[in-house]
């Protein structure tokens, strides 16, 4: 650990050297650091610190792992006047994120109906290629409107309720989305994919509340032990990927044009105020809005599937959105820097916003307690619901971890899984699973991931997000 300096039990500093503009800071326990320190992701934390306009630190959360240019689990705030915007700092799956839905159901009500419930969800929630989006024949004109207006547009179309909008980060719409900056190719990919789950690590999961750590906060979220909740994890699908790809090309040219000196070409970026920077921002926001719509539509489909399978009314189910959060995003936010409140462009790549109490961005109901932060784990173990703090506002630009973080490659994971019946293995842990992709279950098996409790405990110990409840999966569908 020679290159890293331990600041306290949960925090390490990557000292400033060479052309780094700021130091790096990595949140981790000693146990997690043993994996992190030998990974190229530490170099990536250092590389991000070279970007023009970076403020305070190049930050990494404890679920950090190697990404393209920026590490996954990375957070970087850029000066809104002199800083840069980088598509690599957001990632390919723009506004990949999660939403947590509560229901009126208890474990007792569904434990014998999990298989038919999963089968219905599996039939009704489209995965992607080979299936059709939930909104067929979405014209480019309608798609433009949808990516400009965000989740409220699909609510107008009948997917979910107005109440949902208050419980989505940014109320389900990033202002300044510019559909004209999204290529036809991206729109072509997106027009078929509204309401599709996608493959890889994306999922829809039925959980029960296994343990509550903070009753007062849990009660504000309307949660009690053994209650059934649902998690949806997906993003902007092909539209977001294409936006990232298109703008990586333009920002690579911008790097030369504006003479930005980079240690890695995947950090391609453009000054925030440049034409290239503004173009990416307009397109990225549109893709983010697509993702909000996508999760909103899937919520509606899931609600219908629950009601149909269990033969219950909307009132009996009462599927309510606790919160929807972004994992891959860049946003202008006000934060305190050296005692002054300044606007910075916060890049979160595989990181979650975790605003503390009384933040004006939060719905009224959550202002006394802070923002819900859902941290999904692997599909065999558990996920955590946490809450943001004031310390997150001062130390991490209101950011926290986003998941368990992979520790094993997909090829290695598949090889190990070959000797196991993963469906039976998960069933023995009380988890039913259905997946379309033959290799998906093998690639996504629990031992491919870090234990999410190790990750969450670091953020809880550091006071950045506090644990509220642990959720245990009982049924998972994957693309």
């Amino acid at each position: 650990m020679g290159q890293l300096r331990q600041i306290n039990e949960h925090l390490w500093e990557v000292p400033k050297r060479g052309n780094m503009r700021v130091p790096g800071r990595i949140y981790a326990s000693k146990k997690l650091m043993r994996t992190i320190e030998n990974d190229p992701c530490v170099d990536q934390v250092r590389n991000v610190a070279h970007l023009p306009g970076i403020v305070k630190y190049s930050l990494a959360m404890p679920d950090i792992h190697w990404g393209y240019g920026f590490p996954i689990g990375g957070v970087a705030a850029m000066d809104s006047e002199d800083g840069v915007i980088s598509p690599g700092g957001v990632g390919y799956d723009i506004n990949c994120g999660v939403r947590l839905l509560s229901t009126n159901l208890m474990l007792e009500d569904v434990k014998d109906r999990i298989r038919p419930l999963l089968a219905q969800l599996f039939r009704d929630v489209p995965a992607g290629v080979g299936s059709h989006g939930a909104i067929p024949n979405l014209s480019h004109r309608e798609l433009d409107r949808l990516i400009a207006e965000g989740a409220s547009r699909v609510v107008q179309m009948g997917y979910g309720t107005r109440e949902d909008i208050d419980y989505i980060e940014e109320r389900g719409c990033l202002e300044g989305a510019d559909p004209s900056q999204v290529s036809d190719r991206a729109k072509q990919r997106g027009s078929k994919q509204i309401g599709t789950l996608g493959s890889g690590n994306h999922f829809l999961e039925i959980d029960h509340v296994e343990e509550i750590f903070n009753n007062d906060v849990a009660s504000v979220f309307g949660l009690e032990k053994n209650q059934i909740v649902t998690i949806i994890h997906t993003g902007s699908r092909g539209l977001g990927y294409q936006v990232c790809d298109d703008h990586l090309k333009t920002t690579q040219r911008a790097v030369e044009r504006y003479g930005v000196n980079l240690p890695d070409r995947q950090l391609a970026c453009a000054p925030i105020k440049s034409p290239e920077g503004r173009s990416y921002l307009g397109a990225m926001r549109a893709a983010a809005n697509f993702a909000f719509c996508n999760r909103q539509v899937i919520k509606h489909i899931a609600e219908q599937a629950f009601m149909k399978t269990l033969s219950i009314s909307p009132e009996e189910l009462r599927m309510r959105l606790i919160y929807d959060i972004c994992h891959n995003i860049a946003k202008f936010e006000k934060h305190k820097v050296d005692g002054d409140t300044v606007t910075v462009c916060v890049h979160r790549k595989g990181a979650t916003r975790s605003f503390g109490p009384n933040n004006p961005e939060l719905p009224e109901q959550y202002k006394p307690i802070g923002q819900p932060v859902l941290v999904p784990g692997d599909m065999g173990r558990y996920s955590y619901l946490c809450v943001g703090t004031d310390k997150a506002m001062t130390d991490t630009f209101g950011s926290s971890c986003h998941g368990a973080g992979r520790m094993m490659s997909r090829t290695k994971s598949s090889k190990i899984s070959r000797s196991m019946n993963m469906i039976e293995e998960l069933r023995s842990r009380g988890v039913e699973i259905m997946a379309r992709g033959k290799r998906t279950i093998a690639e996504e098996m629990p031992h491919a991931y870090k234990d999410v409790s190790d990750v969450v405990d670091v953020m809880d110990g550091a006071g950045i997000t506090l644990k509220v409840a642990r959720l245990k999966p009982i049924g998972v569908i994957k693309g």
Binding site: H65, R185, S199
Partner: protein, 145 residues
């Protein structure tokens, strides 16, 4: 696995979050054919893909890395746009440095084809297309999945 790799001219790279390939070939057109074969080999079981439809793509760029990217991106675009999967590829040099690529395949049918791993993008991460005297043509490509 080993024989399959050598037969198809590529091998998989172990990468934590995604899937990468290394491709070797005696000439650049073959390198492109093998990279495309690897792309669809990861996506589906290509032995079940019938060569019913045919597409043609021409490249005029002299930049080999750019040609590789354009070729794979175009094929991926056909996969997402028209839901086409391909099992056979042919690249030919035409006048000067111009290249013509052809691919044969069919529309993805979830009843007959398995979707193994959805490849979403061709990254710039460690991307390399190079010619080494003796070692011949080499490409390293990391796919975002």
């Amino acid at each position: 696995m080993v024989s399959r790799v050598s037969q198809k001219g590529y091998s998989l790279i172990d990468h934590t979050a995604d899937i990468g390939i290394e491709v070797h070939a005696d000439d650049f057109p073959t390198l492109l054919e093998r990279a495309a074969g690897a792309l669809f080999d990861i996506i589906t079981d290509v032995s079940k893909v019938k060569a019913e439809d045919h597409i043609q793509i021409t490249f005029s760029s002299e930049d080999r890395e750019q040609i590789m990217r354009s070729w794979l991106e175009e094929l991926l675009h056909r996969f997402y746009g028209e839901e086409m999967v391909f099992s056979r590829f042919r690249l030919e040099l035409s006048d000067g440095d111009n290249l013509t690529g052809e691919a044969w395949g069919e529309v993805f049918d979830p009843d007959r084809h398995d979707l193994h791993t959805e490849i979403k993008g061709i990254t710039y991460h460690q991307f390399e297309v190079s010619f080494h005297p003796g070692k011949k043509w080499y490409a390293r490509i990391i796919f975002d999945v």
